[in-house]
Subunit: 254 residues, 2 copies
Amino acid sequence: MMEALSKNTIKLITSLNRKKERDESGLFFAEGPKLVDDLLNTFHCTLLIATSDYLSAHKSIKADAVQEVTKEGLKKVSALCAPQSVVALFKKPTYHLDYKTLGSQLSLMLDTVQDPGNLGTIIRIADWFGIENVICSKETVDVFNPKVVQATMGALARVRVHYLDLEKLLMSLKGVPVYGTFLEGDNIYEETLTSSGIIVMGNEGNGISSVVKKYVDRKLYIPNFPQSRDTSESLNVAVATAIVCSEFRRRINR
Amino acid sequence: MMEALSKNTIKLITSLNRKKERDESGLFFAEGPKLVDDLLNTFHCTLLIATSDYLSAHKSIKADAVQEVTKEGLKKVSALCAPQSVVALFKKPTYHLDYKTLGSQLSLMLDTVQDPGNLGTIIRIADWFGIENVICSKETVDVFNPKVVQATMGALARVRVHYLDLEKLLMSLKGVPVYGTFLEGDNIYEETLTSSGIIVMGNEGNGISSVVKKYVDRKLYIPNFPQSRDTSESLNVAVATAIVCSEFRRRINR
């Protein structure tokens, strides 16, 4: 049965654009059929709001509550310019990072990535290359920011994102190779790369912080071409992440 | 001497957010000291509008006209949320594409890339990897769109972007290898890659069009990891461009 969205529902969803409210309620939201379908496989959905078109195409929805709305009604809770057929509220997951996996897998560490689009794209890259854990500094943009959630294109359902004190974590690790990209690093194409370890990516403007840099024992550089030529000063952080992950995985694929 | 910006100047600059007006006037604009400085090296600047801070740090500016404004005045012509110290108008360049270079260099071809951020990032990647020519379908987003210009971070000054009928161009080429990424392609890490040729990248939603696909004689695929695993359906087009360009250049670097 179709009812208008209550004021409280509209207020709750729009409040989730802010980190403080997401933290207090333990909820986040996502929009669009492809993304919501991916997230429904992994996360606990407390409320799904959708048009009749979406609902007739999805007969069994795993959600605590389902409400039908008109396209007009959906606009009231959508952060997108062109609202799609569904908005859903999910419980934020709580992950535990088993430090042991850091010694046996490849993981990404983000030292204060600030742009939501960059974080979303990096999570999508991690998903593509089978990286299960992305460890963020506490200053990195919140992964449940709606812009990040949208930019992950569903990869958020398959990659676990942790917010930790990076120095504390790095200090406690023993024998785990820590890689990072630096202008003064060694040519990534020629270095020995291991099939497990941590790849650190830095902030958009400032790169890897001096605190974290101390723990990076393998400095890498993506060479520009030809190497003598004047070029851009750096690559976008998501682009650099993609190139580095591709190169690590290429070695294993052989 | 400081004067307020005239109504006509404000109208001209804001009109350049639209492609029609950019085409008619033959002008585009850019903002921010780093970007404007890069573009001043390459393009003809017809008007530079800047704060006194910028002007005292830049004693000789190659521009037809220079006007000093306050930070407040700059806001009136800025498309950015946080206007920086300078906005400049440039003449759009006209490039001639010498088909012969396509046989001796690596070039990128974009088959209807639509997102301004993606195009800007791809131009930055082209710059990093020494790709001088990017050939776009006429339906690709305009490179002089202010969002694209900003996203290139100055790489626009070093990469020539052409808008052409892709089929007509591809039909006329002989002996130039044409690469493209497809889900059914061959593992890029294992394929023979040449040091010259054309790399085609497709539209964000639809990939490479059927018309262009006919001319792609080397189909490549970026393997996900592990290959048996369910993952995102695809990589972002700028991310895929970065991985492909890196792999081509790695072979030459050896």
